[in-house]
Symmetry: C2
Subunit: 142 residues, 2 copies
Amino acid sequence: MLSEGVKRIDHVAVVVRDLDTALHFYRDMLGITPSHVLDFPQEGVRIAFLPLGGTNGSEIELLEPVNPEGSVARFLEQRGGGLHHICLEVPDIDRALAELRAAGAQVLDAAPRPTAEGRGIFLHPKGTGGVLLELVQRTEAQ
Amino acid sequence: MLSEGVKRIDHVAVVVRDLDTALHFYRDMLGITPSHVLDFPQEGVRIAFLPLGGTNGSEIELLEPVNPEGSVARFLEQRGGGLHHICLEVPDIDRALAELRAAGAQVLDAAPRPTAEGRGIFLHPKGTGGVLLELVQRTEAQ
Protein backbone atom coordinates (compact mmCIF):
# COMPACT_ATOMS: atom_id res chain seq x y z
CA MET A 1 0.00 0.00 0.00
CA LEU A 2 1.07 3.61 -0.52
CA SER A 3 2.50 4.46 2.91
CA GLU A 4 1.95 8.18 2.38
CA GLY A 5 -1.45 7.82 0.72
CA VAL A 6 -3.08 9.97 -1.95
CA LYS A 7 -3.53 13.70 -1.31
CA ARG A 8 -6.31 14.54 -3.75
CA ILE A 9 -7.56 14.25 -7.29
CA ASP A 10 -5.05 16.48 -9.06
CA HIS A 11 -6.87 16.68 -12.37
CA VAL A 12 -9.20 14.95 -14.76
CA ALA A 13 -8.02 15.05 -18.38
CA VAL A 14 -10.45 15.41 -21.27
CA VAL A 15 -9.31 15.04 -24.89
CA VAL A 16 -10.98 17.52 -27.25
CA ARG A 17 -10.65 18.15 -30.96
CA ASP A 18 -10.48 21.90 -30.57
CA LEU A 19 -9.64 23.86 -27.43
CA ASP A 20 -11.53 26.97 -28.48
CA THR A 21 -14.76 25.04 -29.03
CA ALA A 22 -14.36 23.28 -25.69
CA LEU A 23 -13.59 26.57 -23.92
CA HIS A 24 -16.76 28.04 -25.34
CA PHE A 25 -18.57 25.51 -23.16
CA TYR A 26 -16.38 25.31 -20.04
CA ARG A 27 -15.45 28.99 -19.85
CA ASP A 28 -18.32 30.81 -21.51
CA MET A 29 -21.25 28.58 -20.48
CA LEU A 30 -20.13 27.11 -17.15
CA GLY A 31 -18.09 30.17 -16.17
CA ILE A 32 -14.86 28.34 -15.25
CA THR A 33 -11.85 30.62 -15.75
CA PRO A 34 -8.78 28.92 -17.28
CA SER A 35 -5.63 29.64 -15.28
CA HIS A 36 -3.41 29.21 -18.34
CA VAL A 37 -2.89 27.39 -21.61
CA LEU A 38 0.34 25.45 -22.13
CA ASP A 39 2.01 23.79 -25.09
CA PHE A 40 3.37 20.44 -23.91
CA PRO A 41 5.16 18.91 -26.91
CA GLN A 42 6.49 15.95 -24.87
CA GLU A 43 2.98 14.49 -25.01
CA GLY A 44 1.96 16.13 -28.29
CA VAL A 45 -0.74 18.31 -26.76
CA ARG A 46 -1.84 21.81 -25.94
CA ILE A 47 -3.47 21.99 -22.50
CA ALA A 48 -6.02 24.39 -21.01
CA PHE A 49 -6.06 24.24 -17.20
CA LEU A 50 -9.42 24.83 -15.50
CA PRO A 51 -8.90 24.95 -11.72
CA LEU A 52 -11.87 24.34 -9.42
CA GLY A 53 -12.38 24.22 -5.66
CA GLY A 54 -9.45 26.39 -4.58
CA THR A 55 -6.81 24.90 -2.28
CA ASN A 56 -6.96 21.11 -2.39
CA GLY A 57 -9.36 21.42 -5.29
CA SER A 58 -8.93 19.66 -8.62
CA GLU A 59 -8.54 20.78 -12.20
CA ILE A 60 -10.16 19.84 -15.43
CA GLU A 61 -7.49 19.71 -18.11
CA LEU A 62 -8.58 20.00 -21.73
CA LEU A 63 -6.06 18.33 -24.06
CA GLU A 64 -5.97 19.18 -27.75
CA PRO A 65 -3.61 16.97 -29.74
CA VAL A 66 -1.12 18.95 -31.82
CA ASN A 67 1.05 16.03 -32.93
CA PRO A 68 -0.90 13.61 -35.16
CA GLU A 69 1.54 10.81 -34.26
CA GLY A 70 0.95 11.15 -30.51
CA SER A 71 -1.14 8.87 -28.30
CA VAL A 72 -3.66 11.63 -27.59
CA ALA A 73 -4.26 12.14 -31.32
CA ARG A 74 -4.82 8.37 -31.65
CA PHE A 75 -7.26 8.46 -28.74
CA LEU A 76 -9.18 11.27 -30.45
CA GLU A 77 -9.36 9.39 -33.74
CA GLN A 78 -10.40 6.11 -32.13
CA ARG A 79 -12.87 7.39 -29.56
CA GLY A 80 -13.82 10.85 -30.73
CA GLY A 81 -12.46 12.52 -27.61
CA GLY A 82 -13.78 12.52 -24.06
CA LEU A 83 -12.47 11.46 -20.66
CA HIS A 84 -8.85 10.37 -20.97
CA HIS A 85 -7.38 9.86 -17.50
CA ILE A 86 -7.61 10.71 -13.80
CA CYS A 87 -4.54 12.01 -12.00
CA LEU A 88 -4.01 11.66 -8.24
CA GLU A 89 -1.44 13.69 -6.33
CA VAL A 90 1.04 11.87 -4.09
CA PRO A 91 3.73 13.40 -1.86
CA ASP A 92 6.66 11.35 -3.21
CA ILE A 93 6.42 9.79 -6.68
CA ASP A 94 9.60 7.70 -6.39
CA ARG A 95 8.38 6.14 -3.20
CA ALA A 96 4.90 5.56 -4.67
CA LEU A 97 6.42 3.88 -7.73
CA ALA A 98 8.56 1.58 -5.61
CA GLU A 99 5.66 0.65 -3.34
CA LEU A 100 3.27 0.00 -6.23
CA ARG A 101 5.82 -2.17 -8.02
CA ALA A 102 6.39 -4.13 -4.83
CA ALA A 103 2.62 -4.61 -4.51
CA GLY A 104 2.40 -5.95 -8.08
CA ALA A 105 0.56 -2.99 -9.62
CA GLN A 106 0.69 -2.66 -13.42
CA VAL A 107 2.79 0.50 -13.74
CA LEU A 108 3.42 1.68 -17.30
CA ASP A 109 6.54 3.71 -16.50
CA ALA A 110 9.89 2.33 -15.35
CA ALA A 111 10.69 5.75 -13.88
CA PRO A 112 8.66 8.94 -13.32
CA ARG A 113 8.26 10.98 -16.51
CA PRO A 114 8.17 14.78 -16.75
CA THR A 115 4.55 15.95 -16.87
CA ALA A 116 2.88 19.34 -17.15
CA GLU A 117 2.54 19.41 -13.34
CA GLY A 118 5.74 17.75 -12.14
CA ARG A 119 6.79 14.09 -12.30
CA GLY A 120 4.31 11.31 -12.91
CA ILE A 121 3.67 7.66 -13.60
CA PHE A 122 0.76 5.96 -15.35
CA LEU A 123 -1.01 2.77 -14.32
CA HIS A 124 -2.56 0.38 -16.83
CA PRO A 125 -6.38 0.40 -16.92
CA LYS A 126 -6.40 -3.40 -16.45
CA GLY A 127 -5.49 -2.97 -12.79
CA THR A 128 -7.58 0.10 -11.94
CA GLY A 129 -11.12 -0.81 -12.95
CA GLY A 130 -10.68 0.32 -16.55
CA VAL A 131 -9.24 3.78 -15.87
CA LEU A 132 -5.97 5.14 -17.18
CA LEU A 133 -4.66 6.45 -13.86
CA GLU A 134 -1.79 8.86 -13.35
CA LEU A 135 -0.01 9.60 -10.09
CA VAL A 136 1.90 12.86 -9.89
CA GLN A 137 4.23 14.62 -7.52
CA ARG A 138 3.92 18.35 -8.13
CA THR A 139 7.08 20.39 -8.41
CA GLU A 140 7.52 23.11 -5.80
CA ALA A 141 6.95 25.96 -8.18
CA GLN A 142 3.51 24.78 -9.27
CA MET B 1 -23.35 31.62 -18.33
CA LEU B 2 -23.87 30.14 -14.86
CA SER B 3 -24.23 33.29 -12.77
CA GLU B 4 -23.17 31.46 -9.59
CA GLY B 5 -20.40 29.44 -11.23
CA VAL B 6 -19.13 25.96 -10.41
CA LYS B 7 -17.89 25.24 -6.88
CA ARG B 8 -15.68 22.22 -7.50
CA ILE B 9 -15.41 18.80 -9.06
CA ASP B 10 -17.84 16.87 -6.88
CA HIS B 11 -16.90 13.41 -8.09
CA VAL B 12 -15.56 11.35 -10.95
CA ALA B 13 -17.55 8.18 -11.60
CA VAL B 14 -15.89 4.94 -12.69
CA VAL B 15 -17.91 1.92 -13.78
CA VAL B 16 -16.49 -1.39 -12.57
CA ARG B 17 -17.61 -4.97 -12.96
CA ASP B 18 -16.99 -5.83 -9.33
CA LEU B 19 -16.67 -3.42 -6.41
CA ASP B 20 -14.59 -5.78 -4.30
CA THR B 21 -11.98 -6.21 -7.04
CA ALA B 22 -11.85 -2.45 -7.60
CA LEU B 23 -11.57 -1.76 -3.87
CA HIS B 24 -8.65 -4.13 -3.69
CA PHE B 25 -6.81 -1.60 -5.86
CA TYR B 26 -8.17 1.76 -4.62
CA ARG B 27 -8.37 0.87 -0.92
CA ASP B 28 -5.73 -1.79 -0.41
CA MET B 29 -3.07 -0.61 -2.90
CA LEU B 30 -3.59 3.18 -3.03
CA GLY B 31 -4.74 3.41 0.58
CA ILE B 32 -7.92 5.45 -0.07
CA THR B 33 -10.52 4.76 2.64
CA PRO B 34 -14.10 4.46 1.37
CA SER B 35 -16.50 6.63 3.38
CA HIS B 36 -19.44 4.34 2.66
CA VAL B 37 -21.06 2.00 0.17
CA LEU B 38 -24.60 2.72 -0.98
CA ASP B 39 -27.21 0.82 -2.94
CA PHE B 40 -28.81 3.27 -5.39
CA PRO B 41 -31.51 1.31 -7.22
CA GLN B 42 -32.82 4.42 -9.04
CA GLU B 43 -29.76 4.16 -11.31
CA GLY B 44 -29.31 0.40 -10.97
CA VAL B 45 -25.97 0.63 -9.17
CA ARG B 46 -24.10 0.02 -5.95
CA ILE B 47 -21.66 2.86 -5.22
CA ALA B 48 -18.45 3.00 -3.19
CA PHE B 49 -17.50 6.57 -2.27
CA LEU B 50 -13.78 7.36 -2.05
CA PRO B 51 -13.33 10.90 -0.72
CA LEU B 52 -10.03 12.70 -1.39
CA GLY B 53 -8.65 16.14 -0.56
CA GLY B 54 -10.80 16.94 2.50
CA THR B 55 -13.03 20.03 2.44
CA ASN B 56 -13.60 21.15 -1.15
CA GLY B 57 -11.96 17.94 -2.29
CA SER B 58 -13.50 15.53 -4.76
CA GLU B 59 -14.53 11.91 -4.65
CA ILE B 60 -13.95 8.95 -6.84
CA GLU B 61 -17.17 6.97 -7.07
CA LEU B 62 -16.97 3.34 -8.10
CA LEU B 63 -20.23 2.17 -9.69
CA GLU B 64 -21.07 -1.51 -9.93
CA PRO B 65 -24.20 -2.21 -11.97
CA VAL B 66 -26.73 -4.35 -10.12
CA ASN B 67 -29.59 -4.04 -12.61
CA PRO B 68 -28.71 -5.64 -15.96
CA GLU B 69 -31.32 -3.44 -17.70
CA GLY B 70 -29.78 -0.18 -16.48
CA SER B 71 -27.64 2.25 -18.45
CA VAL B 72 -24.56 1.54 -16.32
CA ALA B 73 -24.83 -2.18 -17.07
CA ARG B 74 -25.04 -1.33 -20.79
CA PHE B 75 -21.98 0.91 -20.48
CA LEU B 76 -20.07 -1.94 -18.83
CA GLU B 77 -21.04 -4.42 -21.55
CA GLN B 78 -20.24 -2.02 -24.39
CA ARG B 79 -17.03 -0.51 -23.06
CA GLY B 80 -15.79 -2.92 -20.44
CA GLY B 81 -16.03 -0.32 -17.67
CA GLY B 82 -13.90 2.73 -16.99
CA LEU B 83 -14.49 6.47 -16.68
CA HIS B 84 -18.22 7.19 -16.88
CA HIS B 85 -18.87 10.84 -16.00
CA ILE B 86 -17.59 13.93 -14.22
CA CYS B 87 -19.84 15.72 -11.75
CA LEU B 88 -19.49 19.40 -10.87
CA GLU B 89 -21.10 20.95 -7.81
CA VAL B 90 -23.24 24.07 -8.24
CA PRO B 91 -24.98 26.11 -5.52
CA ASP B 92 -28.46 26.06 -7.10
CA ILE B 93 -29.36 23.33 -9.58
CA ASP B 94 -32.69 24.84 -10.64
CA ARG B 95 -31.03 28.12 -11.50
CA ALA B 96 -28.17 26.32 -13.31
CA LEU B 97 -30.67 24.32 -15.36
CA ALA B 98 -32.60 27.44 -16.36
CA GLU B 99 -29.45 29.33 -17.30
CA LEU B 100 -28.00 26.44 -19.30
CA ARG B 101 -31.24 25.95 -21.19
CA ALA B 102 -31.36 29.67 -21.96
CA ALA B 103 -27.77 29.45 -23.26
CA GLY B 104 -28.68 26.55 -25.55
CA ALA B 105 -26.78 23.81 -23.70
CA GLN B 106 -27.77 20.21 -24.43
CA VAL B 107 -29.30 19.24 -21.10
CA LEU B 108 -30.57 15.65 -20.87
CA ASP B 109 -32.98 16.27 -17.98
CA ALA B 110 -36.12 18.39 -18.11
CA ALA B 111 -35.93 18.76 -14.33
CA PRO B 112 -33.30 17.85 -11.71
CA ARG B 113 -33.34 14.16 -10.83
CA PRO B 114 -32.64 12.65 -7.39
CA THR B 115 -29.02 11.49 -7.24
CA ALA B 116 -26.89 9.81 -4.58
CA GLU B 117 -25.62 13.27 -3.52
CA GLY B 118 -28.65 15.50 -3.93
CA ARG B 119 -30.35 16.75 -7.12
CA GLY B 120 -28.61 16.66 -10.47
CA ILE B 121 -28.83 17.13 -14.21
CA PHE B 122 -26.81 15.56 -17.00
CA LEU B 123 -25.42 17.27 -20.10
CA HIS B 124 -24.98 15.46 -23.40
CA PRO B 125 -21.35 14.68 -24.36
CA LYS B 126 -21.89 16.39 -27.72
CA GLY B 127 -21.78 19.80 -26.09
CA THR B 128 -19.05 19.18 -23.50
CA GLY B 129 -16.08 17.92 -25.51
CA GLY B 130 -17.16 14.29 -25.38
CA VAL B 131 -17.77 14.03 -21.63
CA LEU B 132 -20.96 12.95 -19.94
CA LEU B 133 -21.17 15.82 -17.46
CA GLU B 134 -23.35 16.01 -14.37
CA LEU B 135 -24.12 19.09 -12.32
CA VAL B 136 -25.32 18.53 -8.77
CA GLN B 137 -26.63 20.55 -5.88
CA ARG B 138 -25.82 18.71 -2.68
CA THR B 139 -28.55 18.32 -0.10
CA GLU B 140 -27.86 19.90 3.28
CA ALA B 141 -27.37 16.64 5.11
CA GLN B 142 -24.56 15.43 2.84
